[in-house]
């Protein structure tokens, strides 16, 4: 229950969002600090050491991405969730690049935000860098170079479509976590597809084939019936 006393720094310049989200998160048991621009967020993060930071991308004075970049430069590895804006397709990839632990597309259901907050806090080890901030992820023979957008298995390049690579990236940065198909659709595709779950399953089949991973005896990706997928190999991050 210690999770529920955690302090959250919420940075969003839109009062209709901040004024409604803050009491919602308070009701969920968190202590919430609200700021409305990136520079204040940077100051408060250093002064109050929150357990988690929620950053909107578009903010006056300093945008969410720049704020996150500066935080990481200052060696502050506080888990961060980015609230991305509608219509920017490249933003999702960028959010990962800048070391966000998770991200959520507006408009979202506040309960979804709460679920992400809890998942990120559960995964976080205070003071340590999370896998989301690492450039090179290793799980046994599988190596994912996020900067080069390339995966290798036992030294051999794995041929993957960009979508399948993004799915692998999200799974490897969130190991040991049950990830629903809906969530993969949201973070990788950015907008839900009508045949949503099948779209994910098609890519997952491609990924498994490329990784030579047998679904009945998985080394990497496990299917959780009626829930989604989980990356089961232990992941080590570098750089």
């Amino acid at each position: 229950m210690s999770l529920n006393r955690s302090t959250i720094l919420l940075a969003d310049d839109d009062p209709t969002i901040a004024d409604s989200l803050a009491p919602f998160l308070e009701r969920a048991g968190f202590h919430v600090l609200v700021v409305s621009d990136g520079i204040t967020a940077l100051d408060k993060a250093q002064a109050h050491h929150p357990e988690l930071i929620i950053l909107d991308v578009l903010m006056p004075r300093m945008d969410g991405r720049e704020t996150l970049r500066r935080l990481r430069k200052l060696n502050i590895w506080t888990p961060t969730i980015l609230l991305t804006q509608v219509g920017e397709a490249s933003e999702r990839a960028l959010a990962l690049e800048e070391g966000a632990d998770d991200y959520l597309n507006k408009p979202f259901d506040p309960h979804e935000l709460l679920a992400r907050i809890r998942a990120v806090l559960r995964r976080a080890r205070p003071g340590e860098r999370s896998l989301s901030t690492a450039w090179l992820l290793t799980a046994g023979e599988l190596v994912l170079d996020r900067r080069a957008r390339r995966a290798t298995l036992a030294g051999e390049t794995v041929e993957l479509t960009p979508k399948a690579l993004a799915v692998l990236e999200y799974l490897m940065t969130h190991p040991d976590e049950a990830i629903s198909r809906e969530r993969l659709l949201d973070v990788v595709w950015g907008w839900e597809y009508p045949t949503g779950t099948r779209t994910v399953d098609t890519r997952m089949a491609e990924l498994r084939r490329a990784l030579d991973d047998d679904p009945s005896e998985p080394r990497f990706i496990e299917t959780i019936p009626s829930e989604g997928y989980r990356f089961i190999a232990s992941v080590h991050g570098e750089g």
Binding site: V86, G87, E88, A89, S90, P107, T161, P162, K163, W189, G190, W191, E192, Y193, P194, T195, R198, T199, T202
Partner: protein, 324 residues
Amino acid sequence: MRRLSGKWSRYAKLTLPLWVGLILAGLAWFLLPFAPPTLTTIDIGIFGLVLGLSIRNTAVFAFLLGFFITGVILFVRYWDKRRADEAHTLYADFVEDAQQKRRHFLRRLDHEIKNPLTGLRAALVNLREAQAADERSQAGQNADKAVERLTRLLTDLRKLADLDERPIERYAVNVPDLLEDVVDAARAIPAYEGRSISLLIPKIPSPFPMLTGDRDLLVLAVYNLVENALKFTSANDSVEVRAMEDGRAIVIEVADSGAGIAFDDLSKIFDELYRGTNARSTEGSGLGLALVNRIAILHGGGCGVRSSQTEPRGTVFSLRLPRR
């Protein structure tokens, strides 16, 4: 002195036509806006008249040449201007058309937002003022419905914007497999349970040729067409999804036996937020067909529709996608 002037006059005689030509060409440049195209004819007339006189007289010949050059320049400039005017008219028409489309789009968008927003405000008032628990719960549900509608509109707008920005994937796509996925997904929509949707795939040549493209986007396009077909037809109507190929392109058709689309609506239904006369009361963002069209164009193809409200009745939407 005399030798000098003699030499000068020889040079002058030789180069005079050039000088006069250049001066008159310069004049023509300034006079062009006022020059009627008939001037060239007059020029040529004078040219012929003076030709005889000019044989022994270099100065006359020089003037004649000058007039001729002026005439040619005026003629060329006139045609250039005319071509530019035509291009400008075309461009102006294009801009006017785009502006009109934009005005229509904004008016329709205003309408699409106004309705759920009005519903949302009413629901919030009820939520504040209603005393009975069931009334409050109903108000909450109504608010949710309005939000859902706005979210759907926003999502579709974002899809359209995204399609302009992000590069599409180009990988081999298995068409029968894709259509099977779409039909299965459509059959699973609770509102259309038990509706007849058949899938027709030719057996020869075998296997069905592959397509190069973005599978997810193609799924979205075909699904939108199938969902539309289900939405605008009744429980007794049937829907057919079929694929064909003619060596160069793959054609995917979604046909329904419904009431058909009014002739006046046919040319406009692919416009963003346009709602046909029989679509006003139907749920949806009004962006579905615009999305389908955009996806077809991104794949180097196009889409079309044929529909009849009299026998033989039905509507057929087709997606034509080049294989390369």
